[in-house]
Symmetry: D2
Amino acid sequence: MKATFLFSSPDQPGLVARLSGFFFERGINIVDASNHTDAWAEGGARFFMRLVVDLTTPASTRKDLESAFAKAIAEPLSGTWSVGYDDVMPRVAILVTKESACLYDLALRREQGELRCDIACVLSNHAALERVAESFRLPFFVLPVTQDTKREQEQKMLELLKQHHVDLVVLARYMQILSEHFLTAAPPVINIHHGFLPAFQGAKPYHQAHTRGVKLIGATAHYATKDLDQGPIIEQDVARVRHDMGPDELVRVGRDVERVVLARAVRAHLERRILVEGRRTIVL
Amino acid sequence: MKATFLFSSPDQPGLVARLSGFFFERGINIVDASNHTDAWAEGGARFFMRLVVDLTTPASTRKDLESAFAKAIAEPLSGTWSVGYDDVMPRVAILVTKESACLYDLALRREQGELRCDIACVLSNHAALERVAESFRLPFFVLPVTQDTKREQEQKMLELLKQHHVDLVVLARYMQILSEHFLTAAPPVINIHHGFLPAFQGAKPYHQAHTRGVKLIGATAHYATKDLDQGPIIEQDVARVRHDMGPDELVRVGRDVERVVLARAVRAHLERRILVEGRRTIVL
Amino acid sequence: MKATFLFSSPDQPGLVARLSGFFFERGINIVDASNHTDAWAEGGARFFMRLVVDLTTPASTRKDLESAFAKAIAEPLSGTWSVGYDDVMPRVAILVTKESACLYDLALRREQGELRCDIACVLSNHAALERVAESFRLPFFVLPVTQDTKREQEQKMLELLKQHHVDLVVLARYMQILSEHFLTAAPPVINIHHGFLPAFQGAKPYHQAHTRGVKLIGATAHYATKDLDQGPIIEQDVARVRHDMGPDELVRVGRDVERVVLARAVRAHLERRILVEGRRTIVL
Amino acid sequence: MKATFLFSSPDQPGLVARLSGFFFERGINIVDASNHTDAWAEGGARFFMRLVVDLTTPASTRKDLESAFAKAIAEPLSGTWSVGYDDVMPRVAILVTKESACLYDLALRREQGELRCDIACVLSNHAALERVAESFRLPFFVLPVTQDTKREQEQKMLELLKQHHVDLVVLARYMQILSEHFLTAAPPVINIHHGFLPAFQGAKPYHQAHTRGVKLIGATAHYATKDLDQGPIIEQDVARVRHDMGPDELVRVGRDVERVVLARAVRAHLERRILVEGRRTIVL
């Protein structure tokens, strides 16, 4: 039984010792610890730490431990923090439209134990991928979106996320722009952009890439924010393309990059490795 | 003794047979041939071919061969073409400012036989790299540039390029923007941009990359055109960076990418592998 | 309607012109052509060529064209050759055991049009992946293998391959060693080895890799031959691993490499791009 | 003013807290900390930690600090440890034969501040690279080696290493096998092997790679041990090669990989990031 703490605060001397000391004093073994001091943080140097601790034989309730951490560490250091427990399985909603590759990939990795989560439901603005969701026995909801129904459908989606106790939303090639209202109300949202951001923002990035004649194409997984394609980047990768590949070939090559990049980003999130600092991510 | 022909024309049936037939009829063996038909060319489908032929025992003068090729092939097919001979060593001018890595790299590769060329001269707007040029016994000229002297200095550079019979200009981190006048009058110019174009155009791309929090940085070698950082891309590559790397670390990591990318681009040009189609390059 | 010719012969002058001339004389347009002369071939320099020609308006039957090619080109040049037609869809058998990732991947790519083939059947020595095959509506046959039944079961597999008109066998993590008898009687067999050959031959390559402390792991797709893990390599790739990854993590990271490498190899084979020269492959 | 501690010991609870507490109690700020518990270590789970601490305003002498660390931490935990100080510049000897690329690369990176070290001397069994060493103003010693003089010359080399206070020996394509005696007596030795170990051990790895028809070639930096090409691997990388590249081309492509891999390994060693565990390295 393990718990993973994520902590960040303005930098000051002695933070590693203080955080690790907190657990040591309580007889809690630190299984894994990593930290980073970011000299370029927006409000001055900032400290980030990830601590995995062993709670097999806890001396106190989780509530007590959390309350003690808040009082002894977070408050005096003006820190922000969160904790996740290994026996609480994160619940993920996958949003799709028509392209199946990322959905298959996530469902398959989950089956193979690569992603420690439950896939709570698959939401789509289109019925195309019902068969795929069915084959993995995942609840599938269609919520078609038009300009008129967008607000209403997003509201229904928020309700579905709530009903299914969703902790993370993954946009696996969901071809609708989500409103700021939705993004504020929803759990964290990870998006896969099929371009090497910030190079090719907006629509049809592979066509843009082909026209520009680039020699590498890429994909970018990032947290979705109200500013389209501007959220903090979690993971990126590229693949080499040749002059004899047309836009369709780029789509094909890109698909492999997309799904690997998205899976890595979702995995890092589920393992509680990511801290956001302004427009950047710290991946511990 | 070999010659390398580069040819392009509007696409039509029978072009491979026609070009290879031209040499076969003259008893000239084709050592290497590659071609590409580009469906996305600006004026409709376009054919590109590179032919390396053996001229060890030529049946005619080069002038006669060229003239026959023009009449029998290029004119009837509305093609554009060029030819290079293995015993005419291309002459390269390297333009630098203060950063030595690319200059060292090119000089060293030339010494090791990786780049088949003579380095005719090194031109700089700064005296910093004189020692490096000296150590490879390369002629070094300093032409400091201010806003007032730019036009005049560019003129002097054009004269130096002419005097030294330069066939290719390489901007190896030359930190001045060249005028349209210069670029029109000079031989082809290859530039290394220390960013993964089109992502980070303009100045300080590594700082831009750091601020944006990208997970990969890159470099781009392209032909310089009057539109800054917009010329046809020849080669690109990337390197992975981590959240704990500041802008200076990105510069360091990027330097390795830059010099490898630049060397590959220069090599491809010297081997006569590159054909330009609009804003893209075909690398045969 | 296109046909793809693969040809190889001892090298001599004029081969490109001769092959392309053969089609030109018959009014057949060459859509794509590439060739390579291998100076390191076992019996002296050898010429390899791939020609894609347009047969939309054929002037003769295929039989006549093939017979003419044999007489005019292959026989006088002592060449070996083959031809495939775009309207004859290659039929593939996939052999699996318990691991689903490669099977899913191939089935999915086939659905998405990335692999131009029919998956004729899935054969397995284990029932585990029946559900996966079913979900793609692929015929699934279980042929459990013990030391005593191996010969007999291989015979049944050969019959199944014949009944289903299989042109290519793909070992998608099939955990049995196939006999020389089977490999001789079967169509070409592509295997994915979960190691960066020739580094980690034999069983448990990821465990071997972990013990040796390598910093990159890889996968290798090759034609299966009687000499285990020694067949001609078609494609390889690697992924970076860190010291904190145990053998299980290497398996997970490796799985992504395996399926991409296998898919690329199968695709290259289906597009008729591969020629074998001794222990090496020429991929045109 | 910083100091970097490397520590390893059998694993037990509380180690992170104990090590960080040691410095905290003494008012010494931890600038950077990373640790790893290796479940696969030879003698059971083992703990590794790297701590960078700030000694700008030391409360004690270095000798006292080291002695306290030994008594309070290393001895009771049966740990092994070492410490380096930022104001003590490591001194490196580079051993070469005839190939200049790695020597140039290391000298250049040192000049550019990428490698924090002094290059104390260049030793060679051949005079070829004297000019390169001269151009960077590095002491250059020639010690030709024959079967008869090997023992004697190695002895002279050990004396030179001692005279020049060398902390690290880098074999930058030094084409002699060093005796066990030398390796035991010398400071740590990093070697660059021009193959993707363990794939192509021994001589002429690029020729071996070409014969085997691999699609990627690589280079491996490792600590030299008495078992040739078997030492703990520090860093590896690969580059893609094509069927049309002969052994000479592989040498050329490989050279770029070699120098980058060697530079990364030397840098990691100089930054005190490497701990050896059996045949593996932990790079913190």
